[in-house]
């Protein structure tokens, strides 16, 4: 378990980035941290693996205070994938990149090899094993950076804006991958302002604004509250905006994902007997 107890953080410039954060992250959790640019999301993420230490309060990773454990030791448990893949990539081939962390952790060469193959396949990168990461597109490089961390199988995976530059198909792949991880008992925390991705993935949402947690709860309840969402400089998902126009027809106002929307409308439109001939 990762525990944040009354965490405050102030940068050396004097700018307060986090205030009074209480948060528990346990295996099997899937959490989305959302909020405006500058809300403190990345600062919070960096506290989870000890890259930043709280100015007040404390962060415990499996009972150990992050101020007393090295980042190197913490990084075996907590994998942080940065927003910009180029901060992470440096090897000559994709395969070497993904193998690097594993080798560093002292795994046997045959374990490293099989783990690299498995991870590359899972992320749709197998065909690029021998390619230089710098010949890949931005979206592909981002997946390589993710693969490099995933291969080490951390218990807690922290993803900073994982959907940037990813097309819809890649996002679905990412979603399935995350689902697999937390159903295996790993914890996945993603920082994102991709409201549509969150609406369709249904994690627990922590809403940050100006360094404070202003709301927490299931995605459909948090993302359908207009005032809260605005405060964090987000926009409600399209389905939520659509369904708030449709409440006068007896439809619920907390719909955020397209699949629930479809089921509700199918029922409504069938009962209203407005069935029309298929036109294609």
């Amino acid at each position: 378990m990762i525990t944040l107890e009354k965490v405050f953080f102030t940068y050396r410039s004097g700018q307060t980035a986090l205030q009074d954060i209480d948060l528990n992250i346990v295996g099997g959790d899937f959490i989305a941290i959302m909020g405006e640019n500058g809300a403190g999301k990345t600062t919070l993420a960096k506290h989870l693996n000890g890259l930043l230490k709280p100015s007040q309060g404390r962060v415990l990773v499996d009972g150990e205070d992050t101020r007393k454990v090295s980042v190197a030791k913490l990084s075996r448990k907590v994998g942080l994938v940065f927003q910009n893949p180029d901060h992470l990539l440096f090897s000559e081939t994709v395969k070497d990149e993904v193998a690097f962390g594993l080798k560093n952790f002292g795994f046997a060469p045959d374990v490293v090899d099989s783990q690299v193959v498995r991870t590359l396949e899972a992320l749709g990168l197998a065909e690029y094993a021998e390619t230089s990461p710098f010949l890949l597109s931005g979206g592909e490089r981002k997946r390589v950076a993710l693969a490099a961390i995933l291969a080490t199988e951390p218990d807690y995976l922290i993803l900073d804006e994982p959907t940037i530059g990813q097309d819809y198909r890649q996002k679905e792949r990412l979603r399935n991958f995350i689902l697999q991880l937390y159903s295996q008992g790993k914890a996945v925390v993603m920082i994102t302002h991709d409201v549509e991705f969150v609406a369709e993935s249904n994690p627990k949402v922590i809403l940050l604004s100006q360094g404070r947690i202003v709301a927490r709860g299931p995605a459909d309840s948090v993302l359908s509250k207009d005032e809260l969402v605005r405060r964090a400089s987000l926009v409600r998902p399209q389905m939520s905006r659509l369904f708030s126009e449709l409440t006068k027809y007896g439809l619920p106002g907390d719909v955020v994902d397209v699949h629930r929307a479809r089921l509700l409308l199918e029922e409504k439109l069938s009962e209203a007997k407005v069935r029309v001939p298929q036109n294609s």
Partner: protein
């Protein structure tokens, strides 16, 4: 005046393969873009959209090595024979991550950097910088350092720096991906205002259609280095929905919902592209 809009970009059978890459990044591209168009360029990750944009301002073939085929004219100048400096006056490029683009000590100096290198007079530089700051709303930021700004402010400064070069075309490569949704909307709106006010041509590369659908009349879809669809955005969403969805293009959720209901035979008519039109159509049906 009823004169036909000028053709600002013309690609004929354009192709490019990077040195060391296993296959061509783009191939057989035929594309004509008229002045003052707002175009959404999309397609799956790795489809060649960024490479095509790099050709538009001459980054390819001048700074990337590889094999070039076909022809590309920008403002009637051939990209292969023109100096990059000539091209960069005509085509401005706003990168995905504004941090990669800003480097001066203050916002004002950053915006002035381009014009200073054009050999203009002091007054001309002053005028261009002021104008660019005015239209992008960055004037209040002029004495701040770029790193002190929020993502949305940085993106606007990057846009101002490009505008100060007085280009005819602005290419924005996933301009909103680092921005929160509300700021992303502001940047898209500001971009469309520039198109209207200054007569610019806008090319936006984006995975998510919902952000751009309100502004772009035309969509160009790429896959495997080729253009696979090119036409009016609303018509393309309506007629080629399966192709777009199959390619992993982030179609607006209301369009997806409508298509699913239409397949079930529960609704008919054109696929809506925004929430308002979807709400209107569905509300109308439930009132019956």
């Amino acid at each position: 005046m009823a004169h036909a809009p000028r053709e600002i970009i013309l690609a004929k059978n354009l192709g490019f393969q990077y040195v060391g890459a296993p296959r061509a990044a783009i191939q057989g591209i035929d594309l004509s873009i008229k002045e003052n168009e707002f175009i959404l360029l999309t397609g799956p990750s790795g489809c060649g959209k960024t490479s095509l944009c790099r050709c538009l301002n001459g980054l390819i073939p001048n700074f990337y090595q590889g094999e070039w085929t076909g022809e590309l004219l920008v403002d009637n100048l051939s990209v292969t024979t023109q100096l990059t400096s000539e091209l960069s006056r005509r085509v401005g490029y706003v990168f995905q991550n504004p941090e990669n683009q800003l480097f001066a000590l203050t916002v004002e100096k950053d915006i002035a950097f381009g014009p200073e290198n054009l050999g203009l007079s002091r007054e001309q530089i002053r005028q261009r910088v002021d104008e660019a700051m005015n239209v992008t709303g960055t004037l209040p930021l002029k004495d701040l350092a770029p790193y002190e700004l929020s993502g949305g402010q940085q993106q606007r400064v990057a846009l101002a720096g490009v505008l100060a070069m007085k280009p005819s075309v602005i290419v924005l490569d996933e301009p909103t991906s680092f921005l929160d949704p509300r700021t992303a909307e502001d940047v898209m709106r500001a971009t469309d205002d520039l198109r209207e006010g200054l007569g610019l041509t806008i090319v936006v590369v984006e995975h998510r259609l919902d952000l751009v659908a309100r502004y772009a009349e035309r969509i160009v879809v790429m896959d495997g280095g080729k253009i696979v669809a090119d036409g009016n955005l609303e018509e393309t969403l309506d007629e080629k929905f399966d192709l777009l969805e199959g390619l992993g293009v982030g179609v607006p959720r209301v369009s997806l919902l409508w298509t699913m209901l239409r397949r079930d035979g529960l609704v008919s008519g054109k696929v809506p592209t925004h929430v308002e039109s979807a709400a209107l159509s569905l509300g109308g049906m439930m009132n019956q």
